[in-house]
């Protein structure tokens, strides 16, 4: 005698099994239309492989499994595929789902099934393949694809195989009837499945002790075979997979684990028979035994029904009285679900169609408050705390629900059954489990969204960075180009003078260029002339000679022109002086001697003193040359200006000598040269610009300019000989004087609202600044 364990909790509802056992197993007439939902198993819906209008035979594949967790679907009779459309599903939601609809032709023609005598000699892989091809799922109710269950992981050896013939729910007798009528096939199926699972040590067929006929039949069939047939006391829900394992092995399936994890596999007896039929006779799963029961029916019995048969057809065959029925249930009274419409088909997991009368199964009484009696906890076969779960489910406190292992609830309904307050406890758990599952899916989705979002952010940031890098590179290149451009014409200065200088410089350059160009033109013209002359001399032809002479004349003319231009050009002062001249004229035009003086001074300052002096000397020498020319002309004309001119020339010579001396002094590196630049502006400022400004309107008195220059030079010389303190003092004084003058001019300009007011102001300010500087220097000296 095999040892039997017990499960915690459990209830003893009224069995009512005898109602459907009075009549033998029967078959009913084929319906006109059969409906095959594509999703009648756990996992992905099957893919239809037939087209609308196609004729199909019984046993023909109409939908192939989509992936591993899926099952094939076969036509259960011959007919035409009339539609593949949405129909209401046998599901608690009563939602519509995709179904293949077959219009039966009544001939019930089947494909030729490939029987296999020695199916036990097939390889295990082939066996699993055939089971899978037959579309077999668990017929107990969960519809788990059997082929998946027959492929346990290699690291989980199966030591016990249990065939579940418990059928603990009230009313249902389908498995009982199967075991009574086909005990031999049940045993063969058990042997077959055990073989596929690698012949585990124990093969047990577990049957509740309320099925004496079935126990007797199976025990008889299993005689002499290594199969234990065990009967155990009736208690709901012993038929639960985990509960049955506990009863028969004493082992408990850990939370969140599968039976395979503890080396046990459980299959329903119906599944075993279906597997046997599939391998032995090549028959796919197209029919099953279903209990049709309830006092709202005239006939209550078990029928062998084709899958896809509408419930309405079955009810009609059994004299269903809608008025008497309290509801229509698919499955048992504990775990089944009410059908909204009888237009749903029988599917692989339909083990019972229950049509109870109102007295038989009255509508649920209204729920009342939980009185904390604890009966639900006593009844729970999974040792959970149903009332705690109830509170948390009501409050939707999912963390606590998880902490109380709501996932281990098998939704057997024992707690609801015992509840004195009629609280539909199991409904709360189902809802909470559904929400948890949904939350899990949403969590996964949000994780994916987060990943995608973060990836996108990263990608955008990368693109931005690349753009920025490119922009920087472009900026750098542009700056470099600008710098190169800026380096070529020299650094631009901000103030007016340098701007003027800058604008004057290109002119000076262009003047130089022009000069060079003209010189080149003259040279080439000369060259040409020579060549033409040569040709002219060489040629003998008269006509040609004429032509050459004409060309010669032209060339000579051009040469003359070029020569004239060159002469005119060379008459213009040297570039440095041109610059000064431009600056000066720019300011004199503006009638602004102060600014002009400052500008000139600055222009001078920007030159090193030696160069300045050299320029001075050059200009003096030029002027001397002119004066000498004038003198010569006057002498030739015997003019009365001769004496005056002579005096001028003499003075000029003196000045040049003085300047040359100064240059020599400057060249010597003495300490005295240091204050020179500071002293220079006061002394030298008027000197170079004097000729164009003062001498121009008085050409007959060229001496005035040279006198001023001489004065300035004398002053400079005096300054140079002075002590630095005195020098500074002098400087301050002169600056003060200039400032006064400048202020006077500014006042006047203001009164006249002169256009160059700004220039005046800057002049005054600059003078003032210089004065301050000089004063500061003086003070520091003192």
């Amino acid at each position: 005698m095999t040892k039997i364990w017990t499960i915690p909790g459990g209830v003893h509802p009224e069995e009512r099994k005898e109602q459907s056992l009075q009549l033998p197993l029967a078959e009913i007439a084929l319906p006109k239309e059969l409906v095959f939902p594509l999703s009648q198993h756990i996992g992905a819906p099957a893919d239809p492989v037939v087209k609308v209008g196609e004729r199909v035979l019984g046993g023909q594949l109409i939908a192939a499994a989509h992936g591993i967790f899926s099952a094939a679907i076969h036509a259960s009779t011959s007919g035409t595929v009339s539609a593949i459309e949405e129909r209401p599903l046998p599901h608690p939601s009563s939602m519509p789902g995709e179904c293949i609809v077959i219009e039966a032709d009544g001939e019930d023609e089947h494909i030729a099934y490939q029987a296999c005598e020695d199916y036990m000699q097939l390889s295990k892989a082939e066996m699993v393949k055939r089971v899978r091809a037959a579309g077999i799922t668990g017929l107990g109710g969960a519809s788990f694809p059997t082929a998946v269950k027959l492929n346990p992981k290699s690291n989980q050896p199966v030591d016990t195989f249990i065939l579940n013939g418990t059928e603990c729910e009230p009313y249902i007798t389908a498995d009982d009837m199967l075991m009574q009528t086909r005990a031999a096939d049940v045993v063969l199926g058990a042997e077959l499945l055990a073989h596929i699972l690698g012949d585990p040590e124990r093969v047990v067929i577990g049957i509740e002790d309320n099925k004496p006929k079935a126990i007797a039949a199976v025990t008889e069939a299993a005689k002499g075979k290594a199969i234990e047939v065990v009967s155990f006391p009736t208690k709901y829900p012993s038929g639960g997979e985990k509960q049955l394992i506990q009863i028969l092995t004493g082992r408990e399936v850990p939370s969140r684990k599968l039976p395979a994890d503890i080396g046990v596999v459980v299959q329903n007896v119906g599944t075993a028979v279906a597997a046997y039929e599939a391998l032995r006779f090549g028959k796919p799963l197209i029919q099953r035994i279903t209990t049709v029961v309830g006092e709202a029916l005239d006939t209550q019995r078990n029928i062998l029904v084709r899958l896809g048969t509408p419930v309405a057809h079955i009810l009609a065959e059994h004299g269903f009285q809608a008025k008497r029925a309290s509801r229509l249930v698919m499955g048992g009274p504990m775990m089944g679900f009410a059908l909204d419409t009888p237009d749903v088909p029988v599917v692989k997991s339909t083990n019972c169609i229950l049509a109870p009368s109102k007295t038989e199964l009255p509508p649920a009484a209204p729920a009342q408050a939980c009185i904390r009696c604890g009966m639900c906890a006593e009844a729970c076969p999974a040792s959970l705390l149903p009332q705690q779960l109830y509170w948390y489910a009501q409050a939707e406190d999912f963390d606590r629900l998880k902490a109380h292992n709501i996932g281990d609830c098998i939704e057997c309904g024992a707690c609801s059954f015992v509840c004195p307050s009629n609280i539909p406890l199991v409904q709360y758990y189902r809802a909470a489990k559904g929400t948890l599952r949904q939350m899990d899916i949403e969590r996964q989705k949000s994780d994916r969204s987060r990943q995608r979002f973060e990836f996108r952010q990263e990608r955008i940031a990368r693109a931005e960075a690349e753009k920025e890098a490119k922009r920087l590179a472009r900026k750098k290149a542009a700056e470099k180009a600008r710098q190169q451009q800026a380096d070529k014409p020299g650094a631009a200065k901000a103030d007016v003078v340098s701007a003027a200088l800058a604008s004057a410089k290109p002119k000076a350059i262009s003047a130089e260029d022009e000069l060079a160009k003209l010189q080149r033109a003259v040279a080439s013209a000369q060259n040409r002339l020579e060549k033409l002359q040569q040709k002219h001399d060489e040629s003998e032809d008269a006509a040609q000679r004429d032509k050459f002479s004409a060309q010669l004349k032209q060339a000579a003319l051009r040469l003359q022109e070029a020569q004239a231009k060159l002469d005119a050009r060379q008459a213009i002062p040297a570039p440095a002086e041109a610059v000064a001249g431009v600056a000066a004229s720019a300011t004199t035009d503006a009638n602004d001697p102060v600014a002009a003086a400052i500008a000139r001074a600055q222009a001078k300052m920007s030159m090193p003193p030696a160069e300045k002096l050299q320029a001075n000397i050059d200009s003096l020498q030029q002027r001397l040359a002119k004066a000498e020319a004038k003198l010569a002309a006057a002498r030739a004309n015997d003019g009365d200006t001769v004496a005056a001119l002579q005096a001028g020339v003499d003075k000029m010579n003196e000045k040049i000598a003085a300047a040359k001396q100064e240059l020599a002094a400057l060249a010597a590196p003495t300490a005295a040269t240091k204050p020179e630049p500071a002293a220079r502006p006061t002394a030298a400022a008027p000197s170079p610009a004097v000729p164009p400004v003062k001498a121009a309107p008085k050409p007959e008195k060229p001496d005035a300019a040279s006198v001023a220059i001489a004065k300035a030079q004398q002053r400079a010389a005096a300054l140079a000989s002075m002590a630095p303190r005195d020098k500074l003092h002098q400087q301050v004084k002169s600056l003060e004087g200039r400032l006064e003058k400048a202020l006077e001019r500014l006042a006047k300009a203001e009164a006249d609202n002169d256009d160059n007011l700004d220039a005046f102001r800057t002049g005054v300010e600059k003078t003032r600044a210089r004065l301050q500087q000089a004063r500061a220097e003086l003070e520091s000296e003192q």
């Binding site: 999703s39 599903l89 599901h91 608690p92 939601s93 939602m95 789902g97 009484a365 209204p366 729920a367 009342q368 408050a369 489910a393 009501q394 939707e396 307050s421 609280i423 539909p424 409904q427 709360y428 189902r430 809802a431 909470a432 489990k433 559904g434 929400t435 599952r437 949904q438 899916i441 949403e442 989705k445 949000s446 994780d447 994916r448 969204s449 987060r450 995608r452 979002f453 973060e454 990836f455 996108r456 952010q457």
Partner: protein, 205 residues
């Protein structure tokens, strides 16, 4: 040595305490360096609670920035897609009172929605692609675009930029696979007729 310690109980206690302090100080110091937590763990936790629609209805450019803002002290009731459930869980996490959803940022919608592009009308401007925070729209310039429904968070951000208004937000239809049982109404909300006084109280309710 032992005799010395026994003779000077005060000194030995001092030595023992100091040596303990030094030892544990060293252990803690090592742990602080070795097991340093990178980043702000509270932001991670908050981010995990937010619905990741990246819709920006809270005023931040995505869920993570809002998580950061909450960690920095912003209000926790600015997330309409998460709704009251998210507010409650965040309030739980931060151990604060759960406020109601700030309607200023939008209303909690009853049903989930996904964007759907009426493909005949799409002109292929790519504006919705640029707007999508989770790259759930496929398409290229001058090519028809389409939404990858399984990746769409229903954030609405693509609707506004569409120049031809060809994007609809369609409610996600529930199917058998995502169907779940409804929670029964609690007993006190149901009119019960068990005893005579229930009738009046039921009517009143």
């Amino acid at each position: 040595m032992i005799q010395f310690l026994l003779d000077n109980p005060f000194l030995s206690a001092l030595v023992a305490l100091v040596s303990l302090a030094v030892t544990f100080g060293a252990v803690l110091g090592y742990a602080a360096v070795q097991f340093k937590v990178e980043g702000d763990p509270i932001v991670e936790q908050l981010d995990a609670l937010l619905p990741q629609t990246q819709c920006g209805q809270c005023g931040y450019p995505g869920c993570r920035p809002y998580a950061q803002a909450i960690a920095d002290g912003d209000a926790i009731n600015k997330c309409p897609p998460g709704g009251q459930a998210t507010i409650n869980t965040i309030a739980d996490l931060l151990d604060v009172e759960a406020p109601t959803l700030d309607e200023e940022h939008g209303e909690e919608s009853e049903v989930k929605k996904v964007a759907y592009i009426r493909e005949d009308e799409c002109i292929g401007c790519t504006k919705c692609i640029q707007a999508c925070p989770v790259d759930a729209i496929l398409g290229a310039a001058k090519q028809m675009h389409t939404v990858i429904a399984s990746e769409c968070t229903g954030c609405d951000l693509c609707v506004e930029p569409c120049p031809v208004d060809c994007i609809d937000m369609l409610p996600v239809e529930s199917t058998v696979s995502d169907w779940k049982w409804h929670k029964p109404e609690p007993y006190y909300q149901r009119a019960s007729n068990i005893i005579a006084s229930d009738k009046t109280s039921g009517a009143a309710a």
